[in-house]
Amino acid sequence: MSEGAATATPPSEATARSTSWYPRWYWPSFAAPASLFLLVFFLFPFYVVIAIAFGGVDAILQQPVPAWNPASWNTAVLGFSFSNISHTDGLYHAAFIRTFVFVGVATTLCLIVGYPFAYFLARHAGRWRGLFLVLFFAPFWISYMLRMLAWISLLQDDGLINRILIRLGILHTPYPWLAGKPLTLVFGLVYGYVPFMVLPLFATLDRIHPSQLEAGRDLGAGPNGTFWRVTFPQSTQGVLAGFVICALPMFGDYFTQQLLAPVTSTRMVGNAVIDSLTIPIFVPQGAALILILLVVLLPAIFYYLWSTQRAAAQVVTE
């Protein structure tokens, strides 16, 4: 733990009293095990990804050869992957475009479905609030795979959905939901990720004090005006956080596609990554795709980190 003591800097004034009483190595030593763990198993793996993406392939063993020394990095694979994304007839071009479209549409639908529900939870559930909260949180501990399995049986040709639609006269013959329809995939994404949208929306909507709504009313705003000029502007942080929390995992989703629409024409970036890992000579490309995906998502990640830090600072100063 001596390296912790060497790196500890003088405490700020606010904590001067309590920190001066503790030995200098004391608090760093609490944080050291987890920090080391993250260094070895979170940061270092990214270096491995970089080394493989910038490495080569052993032609005889058909194995990727990581380039551990930055001096010997070779940008051929990264360039190859990049041109396959940017050119319209590239290997990964369609998958990238498709991913953005699917994620964009699905996240927007999550917002449209999730906002009214979060608003209801925060403001109108009344004495049923506890029950609705439990029901809302249930999907967080119900396995994603079980929930998708449920839809697979519901969407079969002789499944409940088709039977209901035929009974109602909307369909005459069963609709092949599971035969690689983008509609089904987007639907599955919305179903899978909408709780992640509701959560931050609920948190921000729940924080708005009723007195602010009353102020809006007293100042002459109608119900509509109060919603659009008092409630909604205060929830925009929740909307943005919801967008990010929903979209980030969706960009890495490959299993929903495999379960609900397992055809080439709905493949997403995640599928391209996973598939390239199964063939040894394609592994460097998989690593390159992961790096590109990470870089593409970095702005969203940083936005989210920045907004949570700001929210935490607000809570502290309140």
Binding site: P28, A34, Y144, L149, I152, I290
Partner: protein
């Protein structure tokens, strides 16, 4: 006369959505529809685990065939399914046992430790929280395949992956608690002559009890249901988990036995969460009752 006869104009649909005081029947409909949409498929999946026939779409009478009696593929007679359950629960327990102490200690340390290194650690921790799971899983997969070959793929790799995935949860939960507690308890302990170690052991940790407990339950449930990380880091059929078994079967030919194993996991995680909620409430109440301590602000609002 006619003026009296005309009813007040019916509020427009938009007004009903927006009105924060009116009776939002419209919102009730949406909320109930949402809950039905989210949960009814799960209920259907549970019901079909009791189906007499092999079908997962046509109901042919109730039975425990897929739990107990089918000689080949019931949960009781299919060693692969049992092995998946054992592996999943084993991983979830070990993940909670390792990740929670690591995360709690990190939160306690970071609460007081200031400076560049502390800020960097904190940033990396939060970054691990928001990194898409696929990126994490692939990075660890490549790590164990091309660098840490001693560990290799398998149970240890799965466990490490799950710890990385869940480490930030106890940190976030416990730090929020520390912020709302404030420094007064620890200062009181110091004034009464407690050593640093005693202060943490006798004051800080007991005060954090409920939040530590809550994060353990969350980590356990998270590890129980994880798919992406475990699927990438598993070695072969012997390190397969339940979510992988469901995924594999769902892509090929699902039988109600898969619904049955899913139902078993559903009951397990629901029980864990329910026990956790009850115990959490009890701990909070006892704490509130036997100490005349001011209720922290964060709790008042919650």
């Amino acid at each position: 006369m006619s003026a009296l006869a005309t009813a007040p104009p019916r509020p427009r649909l938009r007004d009903r959505i927006a009105n924060p005081w009116g009776r939002p029947r419209f919102l009730w409909v949406i909320a109930i529809a949402y809950v039905v949409w989210i949960l009814v498929p799960v209920v259907q999946a549970v019901i079909f685990s009791f189906n007499e026939s092999r079908s997962i779409t046509v109901w042919q009478g109730a039975s425990l065939r897929w739990y107990l009696w089918d000689p080949d593929s019931s949960v009781l007679h299919d060693p692969a399914l049992q092995q998946a359950i054992t592996q999943t629960i084993k991983l979830a327990i070990f993940t909670a046992v390792i990740a929670v102490p690591l995360g709690v200690a990190f939160a306690i340390g970071l609460h007081r430790w200031r400076g560049g290194v502390a800020r960097t650690s904190n940033f990396v921790m939060l970054f691990s929280f928001v990194t898409p799971e696929l990126i994490l899983a692939v990075a660890l997969y490549l790590l164990f395949l091309h660098s840490f070959r001693v560990i290799g793929l398998g149970t240890s790799a799965e466990l490490i992956g799950l710890i990385v995935l869940s480490l930030a949860y106890p940190v976030v939960i416990v730090r929020a608690r520390l912020l709302s507690l404030g420094p007064s308890y620890e200062e009181a302990a110091q004034d009464l002559g407690a050593s640093p170690a005693r202060t943490v052991g006798r004051v800080t940790l007991p005060l954090l009890g409920p939040s530590i407990f809550a994060s353990a339950a969350i980590v356990f449930a998270l590890a129980l249901d994880d798919f992406v990380v475990v699927n990438q880091l598993s070695r072969d059929a012997t390190t397969q988990t339940v979510s992988m078994a469901i995924y594999g079967a769902a892509r090929t030919a699902p039988t109600p036995a898969i619904n049955a194993i899913g139902t078993i996991m559903l009951v397990t995680s629901t029980l864990v969460i329910a026990i956790a909620v009850v115990a959490y409430r009890r701990m909070e109440r006892r704490r509130g009752a036997d100490a005349a301590i001011p209720v922290p602000r964060a709790r008042e609002r919650a």
